[in-house]
């Protein structure tokens, strides 16, 4: 281990985050490696190691002969300071080698507030920030993940964006880089070749022009470069790579357990939810595959905790059979099985009670909106009766805490909808009074609200976000309404972060200098309250002459060219607009299993959708 590193590890918090050497970390002999890949996660080790995508791509890349993929995370402030002081550049955890010497540096973009950490990591690595400053001597900078669906705010910094699922396209990218090296391509030639690979978007090969009113006039690719980049998907989930043999961190991470992925996509079509649209079409794994992978994952990792993961777990058709099958293995081996993201319906409650086996942790429901009208408008297919029935079951069974999650500022929301949240919380309280076997224990009902952030590739991509003042007014309104309800705790998110998220989520290339300015003024790890400064961001907007309100608070016209129009998630734009119109009529669209409404995503899978 590097002596300078050893010296600083003694004085930083949780040093095991920076050492590597965990069980199943991949170390390859350098002489057998021709291509080195740094998989960078722009957040801490604990967050990054909890990401299933990282584990999948790490496994896929390291299965390739001659390719060595290592992990890199954003250091916490104390470590960053020590690294800068001692002149230690950002290194791969497996080898300790500086990543500036690698062939490819890939970033996983899951959250807009991590953008400043991307810049900070490039800088810590000693890699020039801008694509145009990097020739073939520098690593190729690629980025993927959900945020890549609107890549434009990072366009000047990233060479190639990878759209959709990376299992196949990441391999193709590496092969293309190898070929480029063999044939002596310049960086520009390499980028041009990469742009021919389906699912890869090379921003420097597209020119964006703007109108006088600030909207995008046109996005023009260079000759020979595709005008539309469509995301990639894995067609057959049963044969897709799954990281059964995966790293077991030696220090506690956020999701410190086996994550068994049931399916991709979601049948629900909640109109605010980007994941619900961009991960389409629905593709399930078979019961047999999952039963085998679940067992093998526990055995291989030694984790005695397993969670079933997907966008909406209770929508996996053979869920009961799967749980029964897994429990056969889990019970005798002291492995606990848990289900996140359950819906508030009877089926889920039955299942939950069976899995709990005596344990009574808190129950969480996400009705998202306070009234049926608004729930219909956002296509959240949960009724008040569903929710109360679930609460009845829970309270009868002895639960005494319920968390309810809502969003404020959803399109078409009125004050009546906001106050409806308080109404619903009161009804839950009444249900508890009626059904609890033991009133003296009391009940804890927690209402949490977040601020809606319109995202690209959803029916709400054209919507204006509420102003921060409007959000505050709604929070105050609800807080007032709940003031006398002693059993209800009200938590709310601050609108400042949501405002910035809205700007970054739908920004164009003119937002890039703002991100850089904020970073230069010290922004990094912006998802952590220890580091986030709203003031710093506002100063950055001002310094760059960019009006954030233009991106957050402006409703887009139907025919406006959107900054992400060169990217397709498979769902047709007309479908999204139709869904938006359905919202304004408070009309629900049936879920994909009741009726296919022809979103278009199944074209990516030869017409097949498991919805």
């Amino acid at each position: 281990m590097d002596r300078r590193l050893e010296k600083i590890l003694r004085n930083v918090q949780k040093p095991a985050r920076y050492t590597g050497g965990e069980y199943r970390a991949v170390v390859k002999p350098r002489e057998q490696v021709d291509t080195r890949f740094a998989f960078c996660f722009p957040d801490t080790y604990e967050i990054g190691m909890s990401n299933l995508g990282l584990r999948i791509l790490y496994g896929v890349l390291n299965e390739m002969d001659g390719v060595w993929c290592e992990r890199v995370f954003a250091p916490w402030g104390d470590m960053e300071e020590a690294m800068r002081r001692e002149g230690i550049p950002l290194y791969g955890l497996e080898s300790g080698d500086p990543i500036a010497e690698f062939d490819i540096v890939g970033f996983s973009l899951g959250y807009e507030m991590a953008y400043t950490s991307v810049l900070n990591m490039l800088d810590l690595a000693g890699i020039p920030l801008h694509s145009e400053e990097r020739d073939g001597r520098w690593p190729l900078i690629v980025a993927g993940g959900t945020c890549a669906y609107n890549p434009e705010p990072l366009a000047p910094f990233v060479d190639v964006f990878s759209l959709g699922e990376g299992e196949e396209v990441t391999v193709e990218t590496v092969e293309c880089v190898r070929r480029g090296r063999r044939e002596g391509w310049s960086r520009r030639e390499l980028l041009f070749h990469l742009a021919q690979i389906p699912g890869l978007y090379v921003p420097s090969l597209y020119q964006v022009t703007y109108r006088e009113d600030g909207t995008v006039a046109a996005i023009t690719p260079e000759p020979g470069v595709p005008a539309l980049v469509t995301k990639r998907i894995v067609r057959d989930m049963d044969s897709a790579y799954f990281p059964v043999h995966t790293i077991v961190p030696s220090t506690e991470i956020v999701h410190d357990r086996v994550m068994l992925e049931l399916f991709r996509g979601c049948i629900r079509g909640c109109r605010f939810c980007q994941a619900g649209y961009v991960y389409r079409p629905v593709r399930s794994k078979s019961l047999k595959t999952l039963a085998a992978q679940g067992r093998a994952s526990c055995r291989d990792s030694g984790y005695q905790e397993m969670t079933l993961s997907s966008l909406s777990t209770s929508d996996y058709p053979p869920l009961v059979e799967l749980c029964d099958d897994l429990l056969e293995y889990c019970r005798p081996n002291h492995v606990s099985l848990s289900l996140p993201s359950l819906r508030a319906d009877n089926f889920s409650m039955d299942l939950m009670q069976r899995l709990q086996e005596g344990k009574k942790s808190g129950l969480t429901f996400a009705p998202e909106a306070g009234t049926q009208r608004l729930r219909d408008a956002i296509n959240k297919d949960v009724t008040e009766e569903d929710l109360l029935q679930s609460c009845r079951t829970a309270f009868t069974g002895g639960w005494s805490g319920v968390k309810l999650y809502f969003m404020l500022g959803l399109p078409t929301e009125t004050d009546e909808d906001v106050l409806g949240i308080a109404e619903l919380a009161r009804k839950v309280y009444q249900t508890w009074r009626e059904y609890t076997p033991n009133r003296s224990r009391g009940v804890r009902i927690t209402v949490s609200t977040s601020c809606f952030v319109p995202k690209s590739h959803t029916p709400f991509q054209w919507e204006a976000q509420n102003t921060m003042e409007e959000y505050q007014r709604k929070v105050d309104l609800l807080r007032d309404a709940l003031r006398r309800d002693k059993s209800v705790t009200y938590n709310w998110h601050d609108p400042q972060t949501s405002f910035l998220e809205a700007v970054l989520a739908r920004g164009d290339r003119r937002v890039a200098p703002v991100i850089e300015a904020a970073w230069r003024q010290g922004a990094r790890l912006d998802s952590w309250s220890e580091y986030f400064s709203f003031q710093r961001w506002m100063e950055a907007f001002q310094a760059c002459g960019v009006d954030p309100s233009f991106y957050a608070h402006r409703a887009r016209a139907k025919d406006e060219v959107l900054p992400w129009d060169m990217i397709s998630a498979g769902v047709r734009r007309e479908f999204l607009w139709k869904e938006r119109e359905q919202c304004y009529r408070s009309q629900i669209t049936p879920n994909c299993r009741k009726q296919c409404t022809g979103c278009g995503a199944n074209r990516l899978n030869g017409g097949v959708c498991d919805g």
Partner: protein
């Protein structure tokens, strides 16, 4: 009570695994090695293990002891089953039935390497350290969770059973047999004493290695 004991090494990158994380690491390693061990009762049963004398973060050791109860299989087979599934830097040397009560563990043999960037300071530091350890009493201020002021004073001399200082290229090596518990002495406090009494002799970097655990007679403790 635990019926079996492991003797293991913790070195290299594994030095930075904390005590709690190390327990979790072993719990998982037992499971992936297919070794059944006794679990706790209750809603959240977990493998029942304990590690004697928690090692400070960053220290290396050749003599860590872990107590557990094997439910089936022979203890002799445990090292070969466990070693392939442990993280880098952790290696099991031995597994056996029984073992003496931990309260009889009296001393720890440490090797402390004080590294200096300049050779010329080393002779001076050697003399300083020898002078310090030769005193009747050396009081060091130490952080304390119990004391109201947050600090407490410790006399390190009575807790040192024997010591020797040797010069090596670029470093000074202190070999010390220190009290293990009730109360024990962390060798870091000897370095703190050196810093306190001879601040010009403070090393650039210090390495700590636990070489052996000993009983009251100075024999290896198992």
């Amino acid at each position: 009570m635990a019926e079996h004991r492991l003797l293991f090494i913790k070195e290299g990158r594994a030095c930075y695994i904390s005590h709690l994380d190390l327990m979790r690491t072993f719990q998982r390693a037992f499971f992936r090695a297919g070794i059944s061990i006794k679990h706790t009762e209750g809603f959240h049963p977990h493998a029942f293990i304990s590690i004697a004398l928690p090692l400070s973060l960053g220290y290396a050791s050749r003599c860590e002891l872990l107590e557990f109860t094997l439910l089936d299989g022979a203890p002799e087979e445990v090292p070969e089953k466990l070693n392939p599934v442990l993280p880098e830097g952790i290696r099991v040397l031995d597994c056996y039935t029984g073992g003496r009560p931990i309260k009889e563990l009296a001393f720890v043999d440490y090797e402390v390497t004080l590294e200096y960037p300049e050779e010329k300071v080393i002779s001076q530091a050697k003399a300083a350290l020898e002078e310090l350890l030769g005193r009747e009493s050396v009081i060091v201020r130490k952080r304390s969770k119990k004391a109201k002021s947050g600090w407490t004073e410790v006399d390190i001399i009575p807790r040192i059973r024997s010591w020797a200082v040797e010069r090596r290229p670029g470093a000074l090596v202190l070999e010390g047999v220190l009290a293990a518990q009730n109360p024990g002495l962390n060798p870091e406090l000897i370095c703190a004493a050196l810093q306190q009494e001879h601040s010009d002799c403070a090393p650039g970097f210090t390495r700590f290695l636990r070489r052996e655990v000993l009983d009251g007679d100075g024999k290896a403790f198992r």
